[in-house]
Symmetry: C2
Subunit: 406 residues, 2 copies
């Protein structure tokens, strides 16, 4: 039974990894840290044990390939193994473990097209304030000054940290043609669980548009200033916040979400009417037009509220990244293979960013999601049922097999 073989290997690796980089507050495997390198070494060992040919690029990304006709573009599968501080053992790990188990099985089947496992380095933004460094290096998208520009909280540059490990903080473009890239990942949200669906077929990856809004009113004594003489920046912010929520809810079917996650009040004293508020606005969606039209509606409403309340507003754009649609052929292939093995799936967008987003620059890309218990991720309570991990790995296997047989 295919599934049993995959299950044993996945369980074995997940169990071994559950002991690495852990303390009483969760898993902490920051990019290029000792814990991250320990996990990387373990995974390289497993790749070798699986009979794969292992190499690394200058950035430290690891590649492990089955034997096959190297004239044919390979099927790439993989994920990352670094974590946020005090995270779980599933984010990234499920995908790299699943990929190794699949490649091992495929290797024994001697299919024409090579399959290559990719372990991306530095996927999480926790250490250097920027995400997906490894996949960006592969896609040639790192900025020229990456080595000196990005620093960790100790003030060490990315270049210094990587040099200690023998790597170089520069682009390391993946030179060969690629048939497809597939990534298995935990959902990190609660949609699959709420829909009682064990597997998600990802149709697109959202990218955030982020803004900082500054609302200026007038700080006044809370006891001596009648309600009608106030220019309260915080009640103004509340008015805007509710309107943003309402607009996002009205556009929910278009796959966009809006979040105010950060809000700071000045002077933030119990007896002073707030004179200034700053807040973040994070918009996400997989369709650029839908994001833009939500953005315009929000800004129109913010302006109208500011005018009504005699407040000043100032908007700063922090980032406007482009979302990506995944390959329609691979979405269809995922659904076809799931049907063959009797698994239920649902199509969904990924709200979180993934290395797969950058792989769209060099390959057709597909993604499989498995459920996150209670939608929790980046947290020691992160959990995915072993049965769901095996289901996802099995679907990955069937998709890879189809592609490698071509």
């Amino acid at each position: 039974m295919t599934e049993t073989l995959l299950k044993d290997r996945v369980e074995e690796m997940m169990t071994a990894l559950a002991k690495l980089g852990k303390d009483e507050r969760g898993y902490t495997r920051l990019a290029f840290s000792d814990a991250d390198m320990e996990v990387r070494s373990y995974l390289i060992g497993e790749m070798e044990r699986a009979g794969l040919t292992v190499r690394e690029d200058a950035f430290g990304n690891v590649f492990a390939r089955t034997r096959g006709n190297n004239a044919l573009p390979a099927v790439l599968i993989g994920s990352h193994a670094d974590s946020v501080p005090q995270g779980g053992n599933y984010d990234g790990i499920v995908g790299i473990v699943g990929a190794i188990a699949v490649a091992e099985k495929i290797a024994s089947e001697k299919l024409p097209r090579p399959v290559e496992v990719v372990l991306f380095m530095a996927e999480e933004s926790s250490r250097f304030g920027v995400a997906n460094l490894g996949s960006k290096a592969m896609a040639g998208m790192l900025p020229e000054d990456a080595a000196s520009f990005y620093k960790d909280s100790d003030g060490k540059t990315l270049g210094e940290v990587m040099a200690e490990r023998g790597f170089v903080a520069e682009n390391a473009p993946y030179k060969k043609r690629v048939r497809a890239f597939l990534e298995l990942h935990i959902e990190q949200g609660g949609i699959l669980e709420s829909q009682l669906s064990p597997l998600g077929i990802v149709t697109g990856i959202a990218a955030p548009h982020r803004y900082r809004l500054t609302i200026g009113g007038r700080a006044d004594h809370s006891g001596t200033t009648p309600m009608n003489l106030r220019r309260d920046a915080l009640t103004g912010a509340a008015d805007m916040l509710l309107r943003i929520e309402e607009l996002a809810q009205a556009n929910a079917r278009k796959g966009v979400v809006a979040t105010v996650g950060q809000l700071d009040v000045y002077p933030n004293a119990m007896n002073v009417v707030p004179g200034k508020v700053t807040m973040s606005i994070d918009l996400r969606g997989t369709d650029e037009d839908n994001i833009n039209s939500l953005c315009i509606a929000i800004l129109e409403n913010v302006d109208a509220i500011a005018q009504k309340r005699n407040l000043a507003v100032q908007l700063e754009t922090l980032t406007e990244e482009e979302p990506a649609l995944l390959d329609e052929g691979l979405v269809a292939l995922g659904e076809y293979c799931a049907g063959e093995i009797g698994e239920r799936t649902m199509r969904m967008a990924s709200g979180a960013g993934h290395d797969a987003l950058y792989m769209t620059r060099i390959a057709p890309v597909g993604m499989i999601f498995v459920p996150s218990k209670n939608g929790i991720s980046h947290n020691p309570a992160e959990y995915t049922e072993m049965a769901d991990i095996v289901r996802g790995t099995n679907l990955l296997y069937h998709m890879v097999k189809r592609l490698a047989e071509e």
Copy 2:
């Protein structure tokens, strides 16, 4: 001309004081600091120069009395001289300067009833986190452990700081009967200015009811959590905030105000749906029933919003001080005297707390307000026109004269 004499003395003292405890960022005369003690010494000198008999109580409050029949309860007038950090030269100062000028003039008129100037120590809460320490000591309202309980930001206790100045941080009850206490003060709000009225006759002093509300939702990834699966503590807080504002506006005629001045978001990260919000609610009014009914309406609405949004709420009471109505006879006397000297007045409540609030425990109390430019106080931009200070001082003089003649 009475007014000219008062004007000269008030201008002289205001000008001298404008040089004390000042730097480029405003006036900083924290309670019992060198600057505060320097101002106190100057004022004692002016009291002596005015021919008054000066004494101090164990807490450091200063009393300066005219000659008169000491068997008759005296008329007390005064205010404080300490300031917030980077404040102005008007809050408190206007009242103590006006009181000295009035007592000097009265002293020369040899009226039967003694008039006594009171300089209250430690009115501002800035240094020890609690206001009106001097007037509370006079009213016997200091807690027993005041000397050790209250500390400044350097960790020095109130007792230690006061001992260095030769004072004791204990109650020092004012033992004699008092005919009336009158305080002249800047408004610290914008009502008189907006009503084009130069003088306010205070009918009551609001006391704050203060609460801390904790709103619990669930922290989620801002990209992976659809709008309908969120339990966003911040949009819930915004909903409550707008409702609080609305209820306070609807009750504005009852003289109540409600302010959320402090709000903190957790974890306060751009890409995380807020899991927790804490916010302060500051309610003020001069009528206990009106405060209570606004409070109940707010809490009912907060609960309903929490239920609708599946959020947890927890309310902590920080303080529920009792407001005080001032003496109706003194309000009427103020209006009568203003009419005699041709000044326009308006009745108003004080939203800010004053030493006069605690003097209601030992005397009938009246207050006169003069306008604050742009309603600004506790700020270097604090300003009151000299003509208005003189108007207020002159009204104080006429009220004191009537009372001292009885």
